[in-house]
């Protein structure tokens, strides 16, 4: 990429219109500036850059809000009259004699930015009626003779009067407004804003195009990674078994150990997803995951379980023949066929033995094993998906707590039941388990497959 100067954009507007919020959302930075529902929250002019490949692409400045545009406009007009200067010059003049106007200290900070940036975002709170003071703010912006993009904020709010604002802005010759809501974020709105900049700053077309591309790529990468994380969580939780002796006390102990491990993993996954989307950890409130218990059923003779061993269960006779584990091992060896190499055959036998050994031991020696039940895993998955769905629509300006719940079971992929079966049959897939085997390539396949299905389920 050739070295281009970053685009310089000043974000201006009435106080409390959401200027700082807009920047937080555009920058994906919850920590930028200060946001509150009072007038005059931002008191300093603060800068931040949107990065493209690690280099600043757009330099934004956040300004204090206009509060008294009527007073300021009157003062500027007086200056023009008494000094005999034009509008743009009156902006420069008032900056030079700023000390004479302590009441307009904040507004003069804005004017300085009007003189040094190439484009302005004029943020509008569309819940407000179109008042004279807002029109006067646009009048002052016009003095600077630079392009302005009105950004209609709060459009998702119930009392939004987006249409009225659009009409009024059109009357004032602003035909290119952008609809936005910094809290209920829509990727398309952001794209429209960048496209709008493209039409206005035609010599910055390429740079803006790269930013749009980067946004798009990042969005899909984020979803992909998040789905992988959730899928791994499910594999970790679903494959976890904790052994215990066959009495109530140790079953209880094993159950609480299981719960703790799964809760822990659940929380860590949630935090990772939040961090991935660059949200602070504190912003989430969630209903505690309730884990009810299921017991490890020795489901040796389940079809899918058998197929995992590479045994073709073609005929009913083959199924019927699998009467005992010994026979099972035998069949596993035989079905490999004569052409298979000795090593692989030996490996298969050993493997099969390995897989079943634990379960057989358990049965023979009277162990019990506890694992997460299907409803538990369902809740786990639904909540993580809900979180992901919400994060994709959450602007970084949002200040309300994010609550995550699991809704109806219909939202899960239809393969869910099947996944649980596979998980219960593959304890070596769980990273939480002592039996975890990182070399088992089938785990990775399963994880990516599940992640793909989850991605399709996202709204």
């Amino acid at each position: 990429m050739t070295l281009t100067n970053p685009i310089k954009v000043a974000v201006v507007g009435h106080t409390n219109a959401g200027k700082t919020s807009l920047l937080r959302t555009l920058l994906r930075d919850e920590a930028f500036g200060e946001v509150s529902n009072h007038a005059g929250t931002t008191r300093h002019v603060e800068a931040a850059s949107l990065l493209l490949d690690g280099k600043p692409a757009i330099d934004f400045v956040d300004t204090p809000g206009f509060e008294d545009s009527i007073g300021l406009l009157t003062t500027l007009e007086e200056l023009q009259k008494t000094e005999g200067i034009d509008r743009l010059e009156s902006l420069r003049a008032i900056c030079q004699i700023a000390h004479l106007y302590p009441d307009f200290d904040q507004e003069i900070k804005v004017i300085r930015q009007l003189l040094s940036n190439e484009l302005f975002f004029y943020v509008v709170d569309v819940r407000e009626p179109v008042l004279g003071k807002y029109i006067n703010e646009l009048d002052i912006l016009a003095y600077a003779a630079r392009p302005v993009i009105p950004v209609l904020n709060f459009t998702a709010s119930a009392s939004a009067q987006t249409k009225i604002w659009k009409e009024h802005l059109a009357q004032l010759n602003f035909h290119t407004q952008v609809v936005f809501d910094t809290v209920a974020f829509k990727a398309d709105d952001e794209k429209r804003l960048l496209k709008q900049m493209q039409t206005i700053l035609s010599d910055r077309y390429e740079l803006l195009e790269s930013i749009i591309d980067q946004h798009e790529q990042q969005r899909s990468e984020l979803v992909e990674s998040a789905c992988l994380m959730i899928s791994e969580l499910m594999v970790d939780a679903g494959g976890l078994y904790i052994d215990c002796a066959n009495n109530t006390a140790s079953i209880d102990a094993a159950q609480s150990a299981l719960q703790e491990k799964i809760r822990d993993a659940d929380t860590r996954c949630m935090q990772s997803v939040l961090q991935l989307y660059r949200f602070q950890l504190a912003s989430i409130s969630s209903t505690e995951l309730s884990i009810d218990q299921g017991e490890w059923k020795l489901d040796l003779f389940d079809d899918s379980n058998i197929q995992r061993f590479g045994i073709a269960v073609g005929s009913g006779a083959a199924k019927g023949a699998l009467l005992g584990a010994g026979f099972d091992l035998f069949t596993a060896g035989m079905s490999l066929g004569a052409g298979t190499a000795t090593g692989a055959l030996a490996g298969a036998l050993l493997q099969t033995g390995q897989r079943y050994r634990h379960e057989l031991n358990a049965r023979i020696k009277g162990y019990r094993s506890v694992c997460a039940s299907e409803p538990t895993l369902r809740v786990l998955l639904l909540r993580q998906l809900d979180l992901l769905n919400k994060l994709q629509r959450r602007g970084h300006a949002a200040t309300d707590a994010l609550s995550v719940e699991s809704l109806s079971g219909e939202d899960l992929p239809k393969e869910f039941q099947d996944w649980i079966k596979q998980l219960h049959g593959n304890p070596q897939w769980s990273r939480l388990s002592k039996r975890f085997d990182s070399q088992d390539e089938s785990r990775n396949h399963f994880v990516t497959e599940v992640a793909d299905k989850l991605k399709q389920k996202l709204k």
């Binding site: 920590a31 603060e46 990065l51 009157t74 930015q113 990772s272 390995q354 002592k434």
Partner: protein
């Protein structure tokens, strides 16, 4: 970037995945401190992987160093033990064949079979394994025998008793990924068998040096010609050294029970044949394969790259590549925040004045106007912009009423513009009591709990006490 750097990254990943370290919080807090780094840092130019490795290296401490070192140490100790074991096995195998009951001599072919046979069998198995487990990512659930052996090997190193050990196993496994791990396994196994052959060779040499041995062969089922052929075939390669090998006649003469005793040079021929066979068919191929395995192990190791699509690395990239960077304050605010006189702040009025003149100011919409709260008095003016403000001030110049209500919406953010407006009204009608009526629905009150207080503060700054402020119920206007 060396293999070791990547190994460290994988180790950090394993520790993160096992919940032992939290590197992202640390990186985020570092990021937020990097406000004024120059944008053209060389870091921006290096590859994603390089930056990931660099970041991971910062989380590499003594304890993780110890994990890598102890693993390497244990592998070399175990390999050495394996070599020693194989060497002794080779010696034993050779000794065993010299200790045969046959009085008249040592059975050459039996000795060769004992030494070379197992070697050959294992070689075939190795080749088969390498061929049939060619694709390491194949999803076949028949996990390979080498995989199994490596697993057992790993378990032997650590045992699987406590959690910490289980973690170490995970880490070890990630450190010896299948692609190069199989070559390491091959290397150790070839070296082991070379050790076996060496053991056998040493033992044979020692015995041949110290004892006079007659070499014989015997068979019950096979034809004598077969042995002659076999000997001639086997001696082809060794004879390339130019040394004397047994020929057809000497072979025939050496059959067990042949009448005449063995000549010294026939013994030497057999001895040379035996030693060269062990070297050429046993030791050299294994050493060669060990060399090849070593080379492949090294090159595969160097070719190993982090799988950047894994969630951990994805997350790390996101943290290293923040979408934005704060650039700090450009134009600081010098003025201290003003605090209003608090003696004007108190309870609100329950309702507006009995008789007053009303000014509508920046109302939400015209349907709120005039409010039903107007009992007596009249509507003076409706103010929405600069022009109407001016008109109002002109009106007030000749105004003589006692009470003035400024009806506005609670939803307006009380700003300095409104403050200036109120001050100006106060100034131009000093004889009049100025009231503020805030029009709000109960939903507005609930949605903006802080707004009423902001209005009280603003009014206080304009010297309007809070007992002159009241709320107009917007719902009543509907």
């Amino acid at each position: 970037m060396t293999f070791r750097d990547r190994q460290i990254a994988e180790l950090v990943k394993a520790r993160y995945n096992n919940g032992l370290i939290d590197i992202f919080t640390a990186i985020s807090s570092e990021n937020s401190k990097l406000i004024d780094t120059p944008s053209e840092s060389p870091e921006a130019k290096s590859s994603k992987e390089a930056r990931i490795i660099k970041a991971c290296n910062r989380f590499h401490d003594d304890s993780s160093e110890e994990i890598i070192n102890s693993t390497t140490r244990k592998i070399s100790v175990l390999s050495t033990l394996f070599l020693v074991l194989m060497f002794s096995l080779g010696t034993l195998a050779a000794l065993q064949s010299f200790a045969q009951p046959s009085i008249s001599g040592v059975n050459v072919f039996w000795l060769l079979l004992l030494l070379l046979g197992p070697n050959l069998l294992m070689l075939i198995i190795w080749v088969a394994m390498m061929l049939f487990n060619h694709n390491p990512s194949s999803s076949s659930s028949l996990t390979s025998l080498p995989g199994y052996i490596i697993r057992q090997f790993v378990a032997a190193i650590y045992g699987t008793k406590n959690d910490q050990k289980a973690l170490q196993i995970n880490i070890l496994k990630t450190l010896y990924k299948p692609l190069h791990g199989r070559w390491l396994f091959s290397l150790i196994s070839h070296l082991g068998w070379a050790g076996f052959m060496l053991g056998g060779l040493a033992c044979v040499l020692l015995i041949l040096l110290a004892r006079q041995v007659n070499f014989v062969w015997e068979t019950t089922l096979l034809d004598a010609d077969a042995f002659t052929h076999l000997t001639l075939m086997l001696s082809y390669l060794p004879s390339l050294t130019g040394l004397d090998m047994p020929n057809a006649t000497t072979v025939a003469q050496s059959r067990l029970g042949a009448p005449e005793g063995q000549l010294a040079d026939v013994r030497t021929q057999w001895a040379t044949f035996l030693i060269l066979c062990i070297v050429v068919y046993g030791l050299l191929p294994r050493l060669l394969l060990a060399g090849v395995s070593y080379h492949l192990y090294r090159s595969r190791r160097e070719a190993f790259r982090l799988d950047l699509s894994e969630p951990f690395y994805q997350q790390l990239i996101r943290h290293l590549d923040p979408p934005s960077r704060q650039a700090g304050i450009l134009d600081p605010d010098a003025l201290p925040p003003t605090s209003p006189s608090s003696d004007l702040v108190g309870p609100l009025a329950a309702q507006g004045p009995e008789a007053a003149d009303w000014i509508g100011f920046e109302l939400d919409n015209s349907s709120d106007w005039p409010p039903v709260a107007i009992k007596q008095g009249k509507v003076l003016h409706l103010v929405n912009d600069r022009q109407t403000q001016q008109q109002l001030f002109d009106l007030l110049k000749s105004y003589e009423g006692h009470a003035l209500v400024i009806a506005t919406s609670l939803l307006r953010t009380p700003d300095r513009g409104i403050e200036r407006f109120l001050r100006q009204i106060q100034k131009s009608s000093s004889q009049t009591v100025v009231w503020i009526g805030l029009s709000a629905s109960s939903a507005d009150m609930a949605n903006h709990p802080e707004r009423l207080d902001d209005w009280i503060q603003l009014s206080a700054r304009c010297h309007i006490p809070s007992h002159q402020i009241f709320v107009i119920d917007k719902d009543q206007n509907r």
